[in-house]
């Protein structure tokens, strides 16, 4: 059973059309939720880390929020260069270590 579920799987937007991506999780003892951007054939690129419910982080057109059950990545007035797969990962303590569990990602395409 997936501990991290991202929705939608794919999203097509027109340039300037704001929207939100969702990441819901079921892990207990959350020790961090991470958002990454992944371009085709590349490694995940770090965007945000959120540690506690109510926390918000912003970077350019992106804003990440966190509740006790889910996180949202809000994209305001997106541009074509925002097209990528956005990955969510939740981190809980496994044994003595903190291991992130990734969702399947949301593939975002922004049309000019």
């Amino acid at each position: 059973e997936d501990q991290v579920t991202q929705s939608p799987e794919a999203l097509r937007l027109q340039e300037g059309e704001s929207s939100s991506l969702n990441c819901s999780y079921t892990v207990s003892g959350l020790r961090g939720l991470f958002w990454y951007r992944q371009d085709p054939g590349k490694g995940p690129e770090f965007l945000f880390t959120l540690y506690s419910a109510g926390e918000e982080k912003e970077k350019e057109r992106l804003k990440a929020t966190l509740t006790k059950k889910e996180s949202f990545l809000h994209i305001t007035a997106p541009k074509p260069e925002d097209s990528a797969t956005y990955l969510c990962a939740v981190q809980a303590k496994t044994g003595g270590s903190y291991i992130p569990t990734f969702g399947r990602g949301t593939s975002l395409i922004v049309h000019p």
Partner: protein, 113 residues
């Protein structure tokens, strides 16, 4: 800005051959990880490494896999006898502290024929 580097970027090998994937983590980081991503699937944890020993490993990381930090800068993943299903992107990541953000390298695309 410091970054994680990986070599080679692409590797093609025959089934049953050994491969070694190399990573240079960010220099002041202490925790090192390997992940894989099969085409079209999610990023999966393989192994974490701290203080010159494995701290956690997943079910995927069986006896065919091993990791090593042969010197002060490199971190390697060895697959002893590759299988077709080992074909994937392999990502190295590093972090300063276990619970903090992990920074990923660009990956090695492994193709087993």
């Amino acid at each position: 800005e410091p970054e994680v580097t990986q070599t080679p970027s692409h590797q093609v090998t025959q089934m049953g051959q050994e491969v070694i994937l190399r990573c240079v983590p960010i220099s002041n980081h202490l925790y090192f990880y390997w992940y894989r991503q099969i085409l079209g699937q999610k990023v999966e944890f393989l192994v974490s490494f701290y203080n010159n020993e494995i701290s956690e490993k997943s079910e995927i990381f069986d006896d065919q896999f091993s990791v090593e930090r042969p010197d002060g800068s490199n971190f390697t993943l060895k697959i002893r006898s590759t299988k077709l299903e080992d074909s994937a992107m392999y990502f190295c990541a590093s972090t300063m502290a276990s619970q903090e953000t992990q920074y990923f390298g660009p990956g090695t695309r492994l193709l087993v024929l």
